[in-house]
Amino acid sequence: MLRDITLGQYYRANSLIHRLDPRVKLLGTLIFIISLFLGQSIWLYALITVALIAVIKLSKVPLKYITKGMKSIVILVIISAAFNLFLTDGEVIFRFWKLTITREGIYQCVFMIIRLIYLICGTSIMTLTTTPTNLTDGIEKGLDFLNKIKVPVHEVAMMMSIALRFIPILMEETDKIMKAQMARGADFESGNLVKRAKALIPILVPLFVSAFRRANDLAMAMEARCYHGSEGRTKMKPLKYKSRDHKAYIALGVYSVLVIAISIFMKGRFI
C-alpha cells in the first residue's frame, strides 16, 4: 500500500516547458504568483488566464493531472470564499438574519476563488514538468547569490536531494516494520484515533533508529568518496541557459510589464 505513493508528481513528456531551465520555471512561478495578487481588474485576470492556458497547452500535461491537485484545497476555497462573501463592507445587496452580502463582497469572493485555483494550477505546472533533481539543482544555482551572506545553499540543496533519494527506501522500510509488527500481533486498524496513534509507536521507534544508522553509513560513504562541501566541486550536468531560456525570460519580462501596466492603469476599478 505504501509503495503506491509516487514521488513528487512529475509527468513525463517532451515539451518546451519540460526542457526549460529550472531557474526560469522557478522565477516564472514566482512572478505568476505575485501577479495574481496585484489587482482586481477583469483585464488583469483575462491576461493571467490567457498566459496560464498558453503555458498549460505548451506543457502537454493533460488537464486532468493539473486539476487533481485541486481536490485538496476545496475546503480552503469554500471557507475563504464564505469569509469574503459575508464580511466585506460596501453596498448592501442582500440581507438575511445576521448575514449581509455586498456588491464588493461578491467581487472579492469570485476573485479569491480564481486566485486560489490559479495558484494551484501555476505551481502544479512547475512540479509536473520538473524532476525533483532538476528542481534542487535549480534552487542551488538560482539562489547562489545567497552564499555571499553565508547561507549554505549547496548544503541545503544536497540535503533535499538526499531526502528525495531516501523517501522510497524509508517507505519500504516502514512497510517491512509494519508487517513485522503485525506478524507479532500488532493491530493498526481498530480503535479510536488515540489508540491508533499509540499503535504507531512500535513502527516509529525502529524506523528512527534505522534512519539514523543509515545516515551514519551514508555520511561515511560520502566522506570516503572525497565529499567536502561545495568547494572545488564540479558538476556532471551543469545548468546552462540555452536560447529557449533567454526567449522565456523575455516572455516573462513582457508578461510582468503588462501586468504592472494594467494594475496601475486600472487601479481600484473592476472593469
Partner: protein, 285 residues
C-alpha cells in the same frame, strides 16, 4: 614498497557505560604490520568483531591510527592535508548498497566522486561511461537506483569508485547482503577490474569461496593478523581456521576429512577438479 603498508598499526576505542564513564579500552586493531603489493587481489578474512573492518577504514583514512602508521601509495594517512588524495587513491565500497548510493539516477551516482574531486564536466561524462561499462551496467545509466537488484546496486557503487580512478579498491563485505547470483556478479566484476585495469583489490569477507582466487590472504582475529599466505597455504591449516571460527570451503573440508580417515591426499585442496585429480591418483596408484 607496496601500495598499502601499515607499520605497527594500533587502533583503540574507549568503551563507556550509560553515564559516560570509561569502562575500558578495546584494541580493535593491535600491532598490525602488512605490506600489500600493487596489482594484487588481497583477501582479508575474519569473523565478526575481528577488527577487519576497522583495519579497512584505516586504509581509506576514515579512521586514523592511535599508534603506528598507514602509508597509502607513499602518503601517510596522518597527513590530513593529503587526506583527499589518500581517499582518491584507495576507494572504499561498503556493505549495504542502499546506504552508500547518493544519486537519484545511476549516472549521477557514479559521477558523485569525480564531481567532488573537481573533474571537468566533459571528463566526468567519459569516466562515468567507462566505469559503467567496466561493471556492465551501462544499459542502466538513466535508471533509478531504487529499481535495481542488490547485486546491481553494489556494481553501481563499485562503478562510483572506479570513476575516481583509484589505484586500490577496498571492499568491506560487499556481498554480505546479496543473494548468490548478486555475489557472483560482484566477484566477477572485481576480478575483471583486477586483471584488466590492474587495480589492487582488498576484499574483506567471511565467505571462504570468495577467497580461493585471491593472490594473498590475511586472517584477522582479535585485532591481530594471525595467518597470512596464499589461499593454498591458508587452507592447509583446517584445524587452526576452525579454532578461529572460520569455515573452510566444502571441498577443502571433504579432502581434510578424507585425509584424516587415512587416504593419502595432499593438503590445501581448493577446487573440485583438484580433489578429483588427487582421488584418481590415489585410485590408480
Amino acid at each position: 614498497m607496496g601500495i598499502v603498508k601499515t607499520k605497527n598499526l594500533t587502533f583503540e576505542y574507549i568503551r563507556r557505560d550509560d553515564e559516560g564513564n570509561v569502562e575500558g579500552v578495546t584494541k580493535a586493531v593491535d600491532d598490525v604490520s602488512i605490506d600489500l603489493k600493487e596489482g594484487d587481489f588481497v583477501a582479508i578474512l575474519g569473523h565478526n568483531g575481528s577488527g577487519k573492518s576497522t583495519l579497512a577504514k584505516h586504509i581509506n583514512a576514515l579512521l586514523l591510527p592511535t599508534e603506528g602508521s598507514v602509508i597509502v601509495d607513499g602518503i601517510d594517512t596522518l597527513d590530513t592535508d593529503q587526506m583527499l588524495k589518500v581517499r582518491q587513491t584507495a576507494g572504499m565500497v561498503f556493505q549495504n548498497p542502499d546506504n552508500q548510493i547518493i544519486g537519484t539516477v545511476v549516472e549521477e551516482e557514479v559521477a558523485f566522486g569525480p564531481e567532488n574531486m573537481g573533474v571537468p564536466t566533459k571528463e566526468i561524462w567519459k569516466r562515468v561511461e567507462d566505469s559503467l561499462k567496466a561493471v556492465g551496467m551501462f544499459a542502466y545509466r538513466t535508471a533509478s537506483p531504487n529499481k535495481l537488484s542488490g547485486g546491481q546496486k553494489q556494481r553501481i557503487a563499485i562503478a562510483g569508485i572506479v570513476a575516481m580512478k583509484p589505484k586500490c579498491i577496498i571492499l568491506d563485505e560487499p556481498t554480505a547482503m546479496l543473494d548468490p547470483k548478486g555475489r557472483a556478479e560482484v566477484l566477477r566484476v572485481l576480478h575483471e577490474l583486477n586483471e584488466k585495469e590492474g587495480v589492487t583489490i582488498i576484499l574483506i569477507t567471511h565467505y571462504m569461496e570468495e577467497v580461493i582466487e585471491a593472490d594473498s590472504v590475511f586472517v584477522c582475529d582479535k585485532g591481530r593478523i594471525v595467518m597470512q599466505g596464499s589461499p593454498k597455504e591458508i587452507f592447509s591449516h583446517v584445524e587452526e581456521l576452525k579454532e578461529l571460527r572460520l569455515d573452510v570451503p566444502q571441498v577443502t573440508e571433504l579432502a581434510y576429512e578424507l585425509k584424516k580417515a587415512g587416504i593419502p591426499i595432499k593438503d590445501g585442496i581448493l577446487t573440485n577438479e583438484e580433489l578429483v585429480r588427487e582421488l584418481k591418483n590415489v585410485y590408480y596408484r
